[in-house]
């Protein structure tokens, strides 16, 4: 029986009375890649922020590795990592220095070897002595991903990891993430507006709309559920008439 890594029960989050997440419950099993999808304002970013401990839940519970996130935040985060196209690493430090700092923060053993391994994995070992601020956005994104893999996280959270990558590198990154998941059994929670990413990478998707999960299943199941040809079509229909679909698609 698969081990539950993330368990979210009746998560609700309000910001000054505005409901960002109304009632969301889901689980993520070890080794799964789960995509959290939805139009802008659906509540996916807030959900991820709660999972990362960046935002506190108004009500509901979040357990990761069987531990309450509120009480065991540090222990949980030691076993997780995160990468986003919207965050950066200090721009005037060399790539190697940035990775060294995060290796030490995550207390990575044999960190020099690990840094070399992740740089080679993303084919950017030639950038190790470059100043991070001098990199292209695609290179920076890959350095961010290197940072995210330094501690061999059991749970990796990725926020639009391919957003600034060209199609060739995006394809390589998607394949690489699948390979890492296969080889290491890494669990991933993945958000993206790129439905091709999601179809290719995710085992299962959670479709959010107005703070609730309106569909859940493999990308194919969700596509069939909404009688559409692709996830992108589902996305567009949900974005334009989500309420109706949520009620009639069952």
């Amino acid at each position: 029986m698969a081990e539950t890594i993330v368990e979210v029960q009746h998560l609700r989050k309000e910001f000054n009375g505005t409901v960002a997440v109304a009632d969301v419950s889901f689980t993520v099993q070890r080794g799964e890649i789960v995509g959290v999808l939805g139009p802008n304002g659906a509540g996916k970013t807030t959900t991820i922020q709660v999972l990362l401990g960046l935002t506190s839940a108004t009500s509901g519970s979040v357990t990761v590795f069987g531990q309450d996130l509120k009480k065991h935040r540090v222990e949980i985060l030691q076993r997780c990592n995160f990468s986003s196209a919207y965050t950066g690493l200090p721009s005037n430090l060399k790539v190697r220095e940035n990775l060294l700092i995060f290796s030490k923060i995550y207390q990575v053993k044999s960190y020099r070897e690990k840094i070399e391994t992740v740089l080679k994995l993303f084919e950017i070992d030639h950038l190790r002595d470059k100043i991070t601020g001098h990199l292209s956005s695609g290179e920076s994104t890959r350095v961010n991903l290197c940072k995210a893999l330094l501690n061999d996280p059991e749970l990796l959270m990725l926020d639009e990891p391919t957003a600034s990558l060209d199609p060739d590198i995006a394809d390589k990154v998607r394949k690489l993430l699948r390979r890492i998941q296969r080889e290491k059994g890494m669990t991933m929670v993945y958000t993206s507006h790129n439905m091709r990413d999601v179809e290719e990478v995710c085992d299962r998707v959670l479709f959010l709309h107005k703070g609730r999960i309106i569909a859940e299943g493999t990308p194919q199941q969700v596509t069939q559920k909404f009688r559409q040809k692709s996830l992108e079509d589902v996305f567009i229909r949900v974005a334009r008439s989500g309420d109706l679909l949520g009620e009639t698609s069952e």
Partner: protein
């Protein structure tokens, strides 16, 4: 508290300074400018009036001491801002770093920066005005520590305000210490201030440090009373500042402001 994580953050800020000439220059530019201006003002006062024979001593001492307080506050606040500017704050707060470890790292960085800055100012004061900071002897240590503690407390409050109100509150990083300056008897003795201001002034640890410094420079030795007041007030303010920081951190987390700050 985990020493490895604190050391990692200290390393991050050390790299930052070794990579950036403007940042290194900034460490010295304003303190040296202040030293030059106040030093020459003091020399002038000494020449035109025999009633202020210790002007050089007092003003230079005050200027250097003020810089210790100011730099200690800045180290905490600017370190936080550096992570906002680099869009690295999110990476820090989703890592296993505890808030206390983050603050501790900024203390360490500030302490080292202040030691370097004070060393340079001490050498310049000796070379330009023949004034030796170390004439204060062992009294320098408790006075220095108290300024550091107060700087850290003010730094925590300033950082908490920036965390709550975002980059629009950035100006506080530079402005808040100057709210205290007029009533903290920095460049003039407490007796110069109106009587009704005295209770406010005496509630500020720095007032006791600056009064104590003037006592030492007059050759009267360091008053235990000032020292006890300074330490006691600093302990209270540090506890209050830490609680305020924690409260603001929780508010920022509740309102989703940490994520916003991290991606601005």
């Amino acid at each position: 508290m985990n020493g490895h994580r604190i050391a990692a953050l200290v390393l991050r800020y050390t790299y930052l300074y070794t990579r950036s000439v403007p940042r290194v220059l900034e460490m010295f530019f304003w303190p040296v400018m202040d030293l030059l201006v106040w030093g020459f003002v003091s020399v002038y006062l000494q020449r035109v009036s025999h009633q202020v024979p210790s002007a050089v001593t007092f003003l230079l001492g005050s200027m250097i001491f003020w810089d210790i307080l100011y730099r200690a506050q800045q180290a905490v606040t600017i370190s936080f801002l550096e992570d906002i500017w680099a869009r690295n704050l999110l990476n820090i707060f989703v890592s296993p770093i505890r808030v206390g470890e983050f603050i501790a790292a900024t203390y360490v960085v500030g302490f080292v920066k202040i030691l370097i800055t004070v060393a340079v100012l001490a050498v310049l004061a000796l070379a330009l005005y023949q004034w030796n900071l170390f004439v204060m002897g062992f009294s320098l240590v408790p006075l220095f520590i108290n300024l550091l503690l107060m700087g850290w407390a003010v730094g925590m409050v300033t950082t908490a305000l920036i965390m709550r109100w975002g980059q629009s509150a950035e100006a506080l990083a530079w402005g808040i210490p100057f709210l205290i300056q007029p009533v903290a008897a920095v460049f003039y003795p407490l007796s110069v201030l109106p009587r009704w201001v005295h209770p406010i002034s005496l509630a500020i640890p720095a007032t006791h440090v600056f009064e104590g410094m003037r006592q030492v420079l007059r050759g009267e030795g360091l008053s235990v009373e000032h020292l006890v007041w300074a330490f006691s007030l600093n302990i209270v303010y540090l506890v209050v500042a830490a609680a305020f920081f924690r409260y603001m951190f929780d508010v920022a987390r509740d309102k989703g402001l940490l994520a916003k700050l991290g991606t601005q």
